[in-house]
Amino acid sequence: MAEHVSTRVNGKRLAEYVGRTVRLVCKVLQFKGDSALVETSDKMQVEVRLSKDARVTDTYVEVVGKVNDATTVTMMACINMGSDLDMELVDFTIETINDPRFLGSIF
């Protein structure tokens, strides 16, 4: 099981997850070649290196990827989340997930 863990994170949590797989909920700002500039739920800008078969069609996406460093993520998979996502609530959810009372026991 452990090899398939991909915790949901926001921008500021990325630094805690370097080298691990995460789920980054974000808004796509612009494409630059084979990468994309995205805004996380806590309004930080992160570079996502797109995978070859990536199908990023919506404004909001959940990127499953490996954290290279605090501001870059290499995409493994991508789930389109539509054009309207309550990022404040998503950020609250992410902070709840990362709360020590629940991280480890539920998430």
């Binding site: 949901r8 909920v25 789930i79 026991s105 539920i106 998430f107």
Partner: protein, 273 residues
């Protein structure tokens, strides 16, 4: 009718539901084969994360599953559908919900069944409902229902709901301490406090006037079919903050809409449902 049966010694034990005499030496075990004693939890549906399913425990192969020592019945999970493997007799759905992966198996029924189950696709979020099973030491969800998640926020709602439910089982209902304190603070006798204790949790979300009405109605002896007169209710809840004729009548209407109380002989007599 029920009073008549109540006086008959052979019917009294029916209230306990098992159909066997509680006083008999066999009282502790189910009397008829195949009729397993089921707890309320077995009929319940709990939102879970894959990690909780991986950590769930079972005393023996037939026992109920437990998460953090709380019995679970059916479970519902929202996850990223990674792969679908259609097989002859069943389909295997691999779900990844960020805390781990879990396999959901659906046993095929007829053709219409396949139509109903065909609208999920790989690389999207789905909600699966079913029961936790093991086969060859591997855990899977025996899925009774699977559907695509159409509202993206449902994915995050599910995370919060899992936190809420787990927190609920760890610490009890929200605001329990405060509610208890404020209710005992009102000038009720020991008897009324006790009478309403059982209901207090389910009334916690009601407004103070509605709660005061229900607490009063639960405290008076329910020995006539006519119920309680609105005048008696009004006098009883007088001390509650925000009470006036309008708020009482609004509260009574709302309680009737909720099905918590009903009118009896006329519009001004009420009984608890």
């Amino acid at each position: 009718m029920s009073q008549q049966f109540g006086s008959n010694p052979y019917y009294q034990n029916n209230n306990t539901g098992g159909g066997y005499l509680t006083g008999s030496p066999y009282g502790g075990s189910p009397s008829s084969p195949g009729q397993k004693t089921r707890s309320a939890a077995a009929q319940s549906l709990r939102p879970v994360k894959a990690k909780q399913l991986a950590a769930a425990t079972q005393a023996h192969a037939d026992a109920e599953w437990k998460i953090e020592d709380v019995e679970v019945g059916q479970v519902t999970i929202v996850g990223h559908l990674v792969t679908i493997q259609p097989q002859t007799t069943n389909s295997v759905y691999w779900l990844d919900d960020g805390t781990g992966r879990v396999e959901a198996r659906h046993w095929k029924g007829g053709d219409e069944d396949n139509d109903k189950w065909g609208d999920v696709s790989e690389g999207t979020f789905v909600r699966v409902t079913g029961t936790l099973k093991t086969f060859n030491g591997k855990r899977y969800i025996n899925a009774t229902h699977i559907r695509p998640v159409k509202e993206p926020m449902e994915t995050y709602f599910h995370d919060l709901e899992c936190v809420y439910v787990t927190h609920f089982f760890r610490h009890g209902p929200l605001g329990q301490g405060n509610e208890g304190a404020s209710s005992t603070g009102t000038n009720m006798s020991n008897y009324t406090t006790q009478a309403s204790t059982a209901h207090r949790e389910e009334w916690a979300h009601l407004n103070p006037v509605q709660r005061a009405i229900l607490e009063f109605m639960a405290s008076v002896p329910d020995d006539n079919d006519e119920g309680v007169h609105v005048g008696a209710i009004a006098r009883a809840v007088q001390g509650t903050a925000g009470v006036n004729d309008v708020s009482i009548s609004t509260a009574l209407d709302a309680l009737m809409d909720d099905g918590r109380i009903y009118t009896t002989t006329d519009e001004s007599h009420f009984r608890l449902s």
